[in-house]
Structures are given as structure tokens and as C-alpha cells.
């Protein structure tokens, strides 16, 4: 069962090849046997998952089922789950059991999906390797000496190792796409505002966006159908109507114009990775798409603008963790000041502290114009580059990452080297665009991702291109051998 896609599992449930209880039990069994190799889960929802599966089986029998009824899904431990630990990978929330569900969780629950468990992540989603988790690093199922990428590393590893057929993630600067690329799976970061942020623990509020990770574009479409939509409880939630993302998956690519930004194929791109991406683009060309040379001239502003805006917003968002209302509190505080400063010293890890400090600096009196305002101006230049490009092309394509997964520990002592890993993904968040990573081959047995970028609310077209690509290639069907997975 575990080798099937969500679409196949949904069919199997309808054909009565197996029940949701059997399916859920099979995944729980795999997690208990294999996750010791990967550390993809922080919490496994053993008891409640089977109860939910029983309810789902009744719903399937009654004919009232949705496409996700009875399907087990793993959720990044950044989405609040009522009554279930939501740690955000931090010691700060090591005892946090939310009194409410994130809107994304409610939507999956209403659809009848099963919560398999909560997946590991870089603390507060700050990281590109999943090494910043208080709950230990996640290991890449393709080679456990490698990182899975981050920050949704647990979700990507769980899907790649077939411990879950699909998972949710969040993407503030590449945190769905980069781990999807490193783990050889398919991931989609929707347009800013497409998926509700209510109950999704905030990192950088003008960039954060939830999305699906799965083995195929078709599965991502099925999950996005459930996740997407207006939420009056999220003031930045988009009001645009939601499409059925499965309807246009098969549309042919004749006449599609794909822009290739020369800045994404230049210095810094590993040559073997570049070759794999170019080969993938040839496949799209063979299906009738044309490849157009384009430029995103302000690309060099991306990393500095991101590393001002994201930390600035993080410093504001994370000020709520003060040891008073929930979460960690230091022992025996001498006074209120001591309570705040020691709670935050003990509760946050090094990278989170660094970003809070950089953000506090950028927002402090006398520096605001030079840093935050300047970065917001650069952000508009970066967005304008994309808007100009979309006058000429339908979508933009390139590598998801500069190279394949790196070794555990290889960059963990060098924050700036780690930041450079996100060079091709950050701009998409700054511009609020939808982006995908699709398996596009291997370099030294390590997966490589093709990134597809669309105009605002262009998710259906990205999924269409990714699906057509997956009809003609089998990269997405490959699976790692590690841990006995065939």
C-alpha cells in the first residue's frame, strides 16, 4: 500500500481493496519500524489516527466521502493541532498543546483525512537543512549522511521514505521546495494568501505560505484543493475563487512559453545539477513548450533583502514568546525582566536568536530606513522583474537549488553558506508567487529538483506542467533504498 500515490490510495479505498484503518495502521507500523533512521516525526498520532480512520471508513461506506477521506497525511509541526503537541521544532514550545486547530488542519479534518503525526522541522522554520531542530536533525532517506533540506525536512523525508503518502509544509524562503528537491519528491508553495495562515506559527508573516508535499503533481493538486481558500480569520487570506486544481492537469503544453532566467543558470550552479535541469527542460520542449531566455536583473538583491525582511518580521512575531501565557518558562525568575530574558535564552536555539537579533537591529531607531525600508524597496524591484518577465512568458523554470543535498554538519557552522542554499527560491516568496519543485533526475545518486514559477494564482498551470512532465518521465517514481524501502 505504501508505494501508492494519494490518488491510487483514494481509488483503493473506494474499491474496498483496503480500509482506512488498514491503511493507517500500515503507515503507523512503518513509522514505528523505520523512523528511527530518519527522525522525520516529532509526534506520532497512534491512537487518534485509528479512531479517525474508523470514522473515515464509515464515511466512505456512506458515499459521503471526499477524495482525501481516509487518507493519512503528516503535518509539519508548525500547524496548531488541538490537543496535540505543536512544538515548532523549539524547546520554547516543547509543552505547547494548542487549544485550537489551524485552518489547514480543520480543512483536512473536515475532508476526512487522517492526521498521521507531526513532522520535524528547523526551529520556527528557520533553516535550510533541518539541523536547527531542538528534536534533532532529520536524515535524508536517500542517504542518511545527508540533510533532507529544510525547514520542512521532516515532511519531505516522511514522504520520500513512504512513511506518509503526503504531507503539509510551509515555505517562507524555499522551505517546501528545497526539501522536496533534496528528497526527490514534489512540493508546491502556493501564491501568498492562497492557503490560510491561521494557526500556522508565524515566522515572517509577509512571506509565509503553507502548501503540500507529495510524490506527484496530481497528489499536490488533490491536497491543494483541500488546503486553498479564503479564511476570514486570516486578514491576508486571498479572496480569489479557488479552482479545482485537478481539472487542467492533462492540458497539453503546445505553445507554452517557459522563461529561463540567465541569473539562475550562472555562477554558483553545480554543473551536473544544471545539466539535469536542462535535460528536464528539453522534455518540456519536446512536448511543445518553447524555452525563452529571460533576465531577472535584480536577482543579486534577493538574499540581502530576504535576510533583512524575514528576520525583521521574525523579531516582531517571536516577541510573543515571553514565558507568561504558554510555552517554556525559566525556573525561579528573580523579576519580570529576568523571566523574559532567561526564558528566551533557554527556549530559543542559536539560529533563531541570530535572526531575532538581526531583525531587532534592522528595525531599531536610526537603522530602519537603511535596512528595512531599503529592503522593502528592493523587494519591489525583485517583484517587478518577475512581472516584466510574465509579460513575455507563461511560467519561469530553473533549478530549485544550486546543487543536490549536502552532508549533515557540512554547513551548520556557517550561517551565510547555509543562506546561499536558498538563492533560487527566496525571490518567489518576496514576490508572493507560486513555485514548485519537481523531481528531475539525480547527481551522484542524489535527487535534483526542477523549479517551476508561475504568476500570482497560477497554481493550476504549474501543476499542469509538472503533471505532463511526470507523465513523460519516471524520476518521481524512484524511491530510496535506505531503511529497507524499495
Amino acid at each position: 500500500m505504501h508505494e501508492q500515490t494519494v490518488a491510487q490510495l483514494a481509488q483503493g479505498l473506494r474499491d474496498k481493496s483496503f480500509t482506512s484503518v488498514e491503511l493507517t495502521r500500515a503507515y503507523l507500523q512503518r513509522i514505528s519500524e523505520l523512523d528511527q533512521n530518519y527522525n522525520a516525526f516529532i509526534t506520532v498520532n497512534e491512537e487518534n489516527a485509528l479512531n479517525a480512520a474508523r470514522t473515515a471508513d464509515q464515511r466512505l461506506a456512506s458515499g459521503e466521502a471526499t477524495p482525501l477521506t481516509g487518507i493519512p497525511v503528516a503535518h509539519k509541526d508548525i500547524f496548531c493541532t488541538r490537543g496535540m503537541l505543536t512544538s515548532c521544532g523549539s524547546k520554547m514550545l516543547g509543552n505547547f498543546v494548542p487549544p485550537y486547530d489551524a485552518t489547514v488542519i480543520s480543512r483536512f479534518n473536515e475532508a476526512g483525512a487522517i492526521i498521521l503525526g507531526k513532522t520535524n522541522l528547523d526551529e520556527f522554520a528557520m533553516g535550510s537543512s533541518n539541523e536547527n531542530s531542538h528534536y534533532g536533525p532529520v536524515k535524508n532517506p536517500w542517504d542518511t549522511s545527508l540533510v533532507p533540506g529544510g525547514s520542512s525536512g521532516g515532511s519531505a523525508a516522511a514522504v520520500a521514505a513512504m512513511l506518509a503518502p503526503a504531507a503539509t509544509g510551509t515555505d517562507t524562503g524555499g522551505s517546501i521546495r528545497q526539501p522536496a528537491a533534496f528528497c526527490g519528491i514534489t512540493g508546491l508553495k502556493p501564491t501568498y494568501g492562497r492557503v490560510s495562515r491561521l494557526g500556522m506559527i508565524a515566522y515572517a508573516s509577509s512571506l509565509d505560505q503553507g502548501g503540500p508535499l507529495a510524490r506527484t503533481a496530481q497528489d499536490c493538486a488533490l491536497l491543494l484543493n483541500t488546503m486553498a481558500g479564503h479564511d476570514p480569520l486570516d486578514s491576508t487570506s486571498a479572496v480569489n475563487a479557488v479552482e479545482d486544481y485537478t481539472l487542467s492537469l492533462n492540458k497539453n503544453l503546445q505553445g507554452l512559453k517557459i522563461g529561463l532566467p540567465r541569473e539562475y543558470f550562472g555562477e554558483g550552479l553545480d554543473s551536473a545539477t544544471g545539466e539535469q535541469v536542462r535535460a528536464a527542460l528539453k522534455e518540456l520542449e519536446a512536448q511543445g513548450a518553447s524555452l525563452v531566455d529571460i533576465s531577472l536583473p535584480n536577482s543579486d538583491l534577493t538574499i540581502p533583502a530576504y535576510y533583512i525582511i524575514a528576520p525583521a518580521e521574525a523579531s516582531t512575531n517571536l516577541s510573543r514568546f515571553d514565558g507568561v501565557r504558554y510555552g517554556h518558562r525559566c525556573a525561579d525568575p528573580e523579576n519580570l525582566h529576568d523571566l523574559y530574558t532567561r526564558t528566551r535564552e533557554e527556549g530559543f536555539g542559536d539560529e533563531v536568536k541570530r535572526r531575532i537579533l538581526v531583525g531587532t537591529y534592522a528595525l531599531s531607531a536610526g537603522y530602519y530606513d537603511a535596512y528595512y525600508k531599503k529592503a522593502q524597496q528592493a523587494r519591489r524591484l525583485i517583484k517587478n522583474d518577475f512581472m516584466d518577465a510574465f509579460e513575455r512568458v507563461d511560467i519561469i523554470a530553473g533549478p530549485t537549488t544550486p546543487g543536490p543535498a549536502f552532508g549533515l554538519g557540512a554547513k551548520s557552522d556557517d550561517p551565510i553558506a547555509m543562506y546561499l542554499e536558498d538563492v533560487y527560491t527566496l525571490a518567489v516568496n518576496l514576490a508572493g508567487l507560486p513555485g514548485m519543485s519537481v523531481p528531475a533526475g539525480f547527481v551522484d545518486s542524489k535527487p535534483v529538483g526542477l523549479q517551476l514559477i508561475g504568476p500570482h494564482f497560477g497554481e493550476a498551470q504549474l501543476l499542469n506542467v509538472a503533471h505532463r512532465f511526470q507523465q513523460a518521465t519516471d524520476w518521481h517514481t524512484r524511491s530510496p533504498q535506505a531503511g529497507g524501502v524499495v
Partner: protein, 95 residues
């Protein structure tokens, strides 16, 4: 740009994060490196460019002034580190 250790101490105080004496040197070094990298931005010509706070240039929506939430004090206080008589407890603020 170089940033002095006492400036990091001031920022840490603003952010209410205690930094141990034996770590302040390394933290200063790291933050200096990061600020050095983001300083590339200073070379960008942004004259006349409107700052962008929201990628869709969306504005805050208003909702009708209606009561939509119920009182869930007990649920919220059940997860607090210290409460008494419905109040959150903190160390004495006024001597």
C-alpha cells in the same frame, strides 16, 4: 560593517534575550558577518521606489463589528505556566 559588542548587548536587551558572557563574542562575530552580507543592499538604486510590505499590495480588510468569538479563558489558561484566580502570574513588578 563592523558592529561593536556593546551594540549587540543593547540589541539583545531590546530583544529580551540574555546572552551569556562567554558567548557574546561569537554572537557579535556572526551578526557582523550577516550584516556585512545584507549591506550589499546599500549599493542598490532604490530612488523613488515605493516600499513593498505585501507581495500583492493588498490592504487590510475590515470586518463587520460583530461578536464572533466566545470566552475560552479556561482553555487558554490551562496551558499557561502559572495562573491563579483566572489571572496570569508573573514575578512582582512593583516593589
Amino acid at each position: 560593517m563592523a558592529i561593536e559588542q556593546d551594540e549587540i548587548e543593547k540589541i539583545a536587551e531590546l530583544a529580551r534575550i540574555r546572552i551569556a558572557d562567554d558567548q557574546i563574542g561569537e554572537v557579535t562575530q556572526r551578526i557582523t558577518e550577516i550584516l556585512g552580507m545584507v549591506d550589499q543592499l546599500q549599493a542598490a538604486d532604490t530612488a523613488g521606489i515605493e516600499p513593498m510590505a505585501n507581495p500583492l499590495d493588498a490592504i487590510q480588510r475590515l470586518r463587520a463589528d460583530e461578536v464572533t468569538e466566545t470566552n475560552r479563558r479556561d482553555a487558554f489558561q490551562a496551558i499557561a505556566p502559572a495562573v491563579e484566580n483566572g489571572l496570569y502570574l508573573v514575578p512582582k513588578v512593583i516593589e
